[in-house]
């Protein structure tokens, strides 16, 4: 008989149907029957009625039924030598199947039992979804059973559970990949769901198993520890010891057991970045040592781990002498007790001077070198290197165990384990998509922790953004948006969508023309916010070329202001400050030493416009450093941490070839036709390497502004002046001929529109100042500036040139 067949009348199927018919309420009724029969029987016998024996005797029938349900029916074991699907189907599904089940019927049933409900909550794959994709033809069912068997084998499931059937129903649907994509899932994710459900089942079973903890006489052979009990934290007995051993920690845990059980220096330093799970390994070891059934060597069995906290010790003994004496006392007590392992958590605090730390090397080094007192130290990788550099003897005395950050799969498992506690404490339920999103966004935005710590941190903070108790991928996105002030979710609000659709108009409210540049930048942002861009690159990388004063920097500022939330979102680097090879270090310096470094600023503010001004002046090695940033949106800082630029727009500006651009425009050549030739010329000039220019999404040429555009610039400048005068309740208007005069006086072909701002501001602001002081204009009034007044202030070209030259010097 093939496994694809289904025998409705098999003994196992019959038992499953009996189990289904004996619901929990019926079992309660049976319990009541037993109680009533026995009480009534005994009462009858006591009163001398022999019919009581019958009642007592017949109470055995419901009592046996209850035992049978609990002992066999509730969790029907699969048949080892299976011949048909009913031999391995989980009882809750099997008991509900009809004689000739269709895939549609199976889909309906799995929605009613635990495994199916697990998928409905954790993945958003409910019974309705499964019914939609299921056939109502019973001849399709054997294929479903075949697929289910394959998945059960793949996931190591002992039975074909409802969860396995959910995946099988999805998998036999031909377009399942596209369907799952709508739920941000892949087939591997749903298969992982079966493993997750099995894992929860295993953890619960493991938890139910009786513990062997040594009993009441366990500690009778070991010494009193009054001081340790006061200052240390016994993680073995205070409930923090972990009973779950993670695959990710297995290697480090085995090494730890080996070091602590072998002869020689019985100390181990767990070294790894913060968040990697060093303390968690110690908690797991504590649980393992106290479990009489675990496979630890006899000399470690029932040892207890005491955690010493540097801050608590310092506060208890503020003076150095007192502290040294206290630490000595604690270690002596531990040694004499003969069953204590001391753990110095964040041990670097015991080896360096500073706030909240004190150098105890003189006390600890001899113990680490010579004593057989078992010690575990947990240390941050960088701090360990610093301590080792300063004190080679200390490094030699320690048995270092490296704890590496967890991989993607390991992190997901760690999160699944933690969820059991987090969900209980926060009263929420996490979806699988939230876990994946926490991993993805944690890896991208959280820099101060390693995996799995960074994903866990994010996952926990996402609980505060749950909707009706359900934590989704969107909750995780919101958590990171609020805590890091960035935008990750696709544009949802009407306001934001409107803003994106009319981005060009908004930008043009503060800058004139350069429509091509404005257009490509706006498109990049729209792509990003619609979720259709490449997530592994910056939002956009652009090089703006053109003469000075044509709006290159202004566009970056306008973008920061209009979309990114203010001009303070502009991370501006004047690349003429990065002209030597040594400046590379400054560019990627640690935020603690150089808060203004590019990496430090992006760590604080990943959602920004990065403006690399006058890029041609930077040292070639600086440009080489920027290659990875432009290509992958990643730059490693001096500590080797990956800093993400994937939520930033990178704009590099350059005046290179400005004269050539102006010359071509003056000759009436269309700038767009000239673009590729110009880039070739730029490469030939050796100013930029081809691989550097190739990294930009677009190289955009800004052309000098024409007179009518400059008049619009004058209007913008006057608008700015009016904004400044708002406080005085005074406004300014400038006549058309006066504006034209200002354009003529302020425009310099070498410097573009920049000096014109100074000329206009000088002329307008001086006039207003005089009129306000003379009382010619009062609050609520309007100052009208005419040609004569402008001429009087900027009387000659010479005066204007003076102002222009001032701005050149600036």
């Amino acid at each position: 008989m093939a496994v694809s067949s289904f025998k409705y009348s098999s003994p196992r199927a019959e038992k499953a149907r009996i189990a289904v018919s004996l619901s929990r309420s019926r079992i309660s009724l049976l319990v009541l029957c037993v109680a009533v029969f026995i009480i009534a029987g005994i009462t009858a016998v006591v009163f001398g009625w022999s019919v009581g024996w019958v009642l007592i005797g017949f109470s055995a029938i419901p009592a046996m039924t209850i035992e049978w349900v609990g002992g066999e029916l509730r969790d029907l074991k699969p048949v080892d030598e299976y011949s048909s699907i009913d031999d391995v189907l989980s009882g809750d599904v099997l008991g509900l199947l009809s004689r000739k089940p269709t895939p549609y019927e199976v889909a309906t049933i799995v929605g009613q039992v635990y495994g199916g409900q697990f998928f409905a909550v954790r993945f958003g794959i409910g019974s309705g979804f499964l019914q939609e994709i299921s056939s109502k033809d019973a001849t399709d069912t054997p294929a479903l059973w075949e697929e289910a068997m394959t998945i059960a084998k793949l996931t190591g499931s002992s039975k074909v559970s409802a969860a396995v059937l959910v995946v099988a129903i999805i998998k036999i649907y031909p377009k399942h990949e596209a369907l799952l994509a709508h739920l941000q899932l892949t087939i591997d994710d749903v298969v992982a769901g079966v493993t997750w459900q099995n894992h929860i089942h295993d953890v619960i079973e493991q938890y139910k198993k009786p513990k062997r903890t040594g009993g009441i006489a366990r500690d009778w052979s070991f010494g009193w520890i009054p001081t340790l009990s006061e200052f240390g934290q016994n993680i073995s007995t205070n409930g923090s010891a972990s009973s779950v051993e993670l695959e990710a920690h297995k290697e480090a845990l085995d090494q730890l057991v080996h070091v602590l059980s072998s002869n020689g220096r019985q100390n181990a330093a767990l070294v790894g970045p913060s968040g990697v799970g060093k303390t968690e390994i110690v908690y797991t070891l504590a649980g393992k040592l106290l479990n009489g059934l675990s496979d630890v060597p006899a000399n470690l069995k029932f040892r207890q781990i005491f955690l010493l906290d540097a801050a608590a010790l310092i506060s208890a003994a503020p003076g150095r002498g007192e502290l040294e004496s206290l630490v000595n006392q604690l270690l002596n007590e531990a040694y004499s007790a003969k069953n204590i392992i001391i753990c110095l958590d964040n041990a670097e605090l015991f080896f360096e001077e500073g706030l909240g730390s004190v150098d105890m090397t003189t006390v600890l080094l001899p113990i680490l070198q010579n004593s057989d007192q078992q010690l575990i130290l947990t240390m941050d990788e960088q701090r360990y290197l610093k301590v080792s550099e300063r004190n080679g003897q200390l490094a030699n005395a320690l048995n270092r165990i490296a704890v590496a950050p967890a991989s993607h799969d390991e992190t997901i498992v760690v999160m699944q384990d933690h969820l059991m506690t987090v969900e209980y404490l926060q009263n929420v339920t996490y979806m699988y998509q939230a876990l994946e999103e926490a991993y993805r966004l944690g890896a991208r935005y959280i820099h101060d922790l390693a995996m799995p710590g960074r994903a866990l941190k994010l996952l926990e903070s996402a609980a505060g953004y749950s909707e009706q108790g359900l934590v989704t991928a969107f909750s995780v996105q919101q958590a990171i948006e609020k805590t890091m002030d960035i935008k990750i979710t696709n544009a949802h609000s009407v306001d934001e969508r409107e803003k994106l659709l009319h981005l060009e108009d908004l930008i043009h409210e503060r800058m004139i023309n350069q429509t091509h540049a404005v257009g490509v930048v706006s498109d990049a942002l729209r792509r990003a916010r619609a979720g259709v861009r490449n997530q592994n690159r910056p939002i956009g990388t652009f090089m703006f070329l053109g003469p000075t004063g044509v709006g290159k920097t202004e566009l970056a500022k306008a973008l920061a202001d209009v979309y990114f939330g203010g001009e303070d979102r502009l991370v501006r680097l004047d690349m003429n400050e990065y002209v030597s090879n040594d400046d590379v270090t400054r560019l990627i310096a640690d935020g603690a030493d150089e808060p203004g470094s590019l990496t430090a600023r992006l760590m604080k503010q990943p959602f920004s416009v990065v403006l690399l001004d006058e890029i041609e002046k930077a040292h070639p090695n600086v440009l080489t450093t920027l290659l990875q940033l432009l290509d992958e949106g990643i730059l490693r800082d001096i500590r080797g941490r990956e800093v993400s630029f994937r939520d930033a727009i990178i704009i590099a500006t350059s005046n290179a070839g400005a004269d050539r651009i102006r010359e071509h425009i003056e000759r009436g050549i269309d700038i767009e036709k000239f673009e590729s030739q110009f880039i070739d010329e730029l490469i030939e000039s050796n100013l930029f390497k081809p691989e550097f220019l190739n990294r930009f999404d677009e190289i955009i040429m800004f052309r000098p502004l024409k007179k009518d555009e400059l008049l619009q610039v004058v209007d913008l400048i006057i608008k700015d002046v009016n904004k400044t005068l708002e406080l005085q309740k005074v406004s300014v208007t400038v006549s058309q001929d006066a504006k034209e005069y200002l354009v003529d006086a302020g425009y310099d072909p070498r410097l573009g529109a920049r000096p014109m701002r100074r000329v206009v501001q000088r002329a307008v602001e001086n006039t207003v100042a005089k009129q306000v002081l003379s009382g010619a204009v009062e609050a609520g009034g309007t100052v009208e500036i005419r040609l004569e007044q402008v001429e009087a202030l900027v009387s000659s070209k010479k005066t204007a040139d003076g102002i222009v030259n001032e701005s050149t010097v600036e």
Partner: protein, 127 residues
């Protein structure tokens, strides 16, 4: 099916599981009274009292040895008492478990026994 199923399980896996359960309870009691551990450390100093090495004059060392001996004796007495007490509890538990396992075999017969008892008409007399 119901009757066959329940009786097959009752005299097969059901009885075996019950036996495992009884064994588990005995193992738990054994762990609780730590009989093995107590035996292996029967003469160890109790709570490491006076267990450390003492340097000094011959008289001091002699006193230390005496102290250690007393500590070991106290330990041995307390442990022996606990071993005996533990063994008694474990034995009682084993007997009770055995009775349960034996009674288990007769439970399906209870309705028949009840009927027989009614037919016989015997009831305990309280006078």
């Amino acid at each position: 099916m119901f009757l066959v199923g329940i009786l097959t399980w009752w005299y097969g896996d059901g009885w075996r599981e019950r036996a495992v359960m009884v064994g588990g309870r005995i193992a738990r009691s054994n762990d609780y009274f730590s009989v093995g551990l107590l035996l292996s450390t029967l003469f160890s100093p109790f709570r490491q009292i006076s267990a450390g090495r003492v340097d000094g004059s011959f008289a001091t060392q002699l006193r230390a040895i005496a102290d250690k001996l007393i500590s070991r004796m106290i330990g041995a007495i307390i442990r022996s008492f606990m071993i005996v007490f533990g063994l008694v509890v474990i034995l009682l538990q084993a007997i009770f478990g055995g009775v349960v396992l034996a009674v288990w075999l007769f439970v399906p017969l209870f309705p028949i026994i009840g009927l027989l008892m009614m037919v016989i008409g015997w009831v305990p007399s309280w006078r």
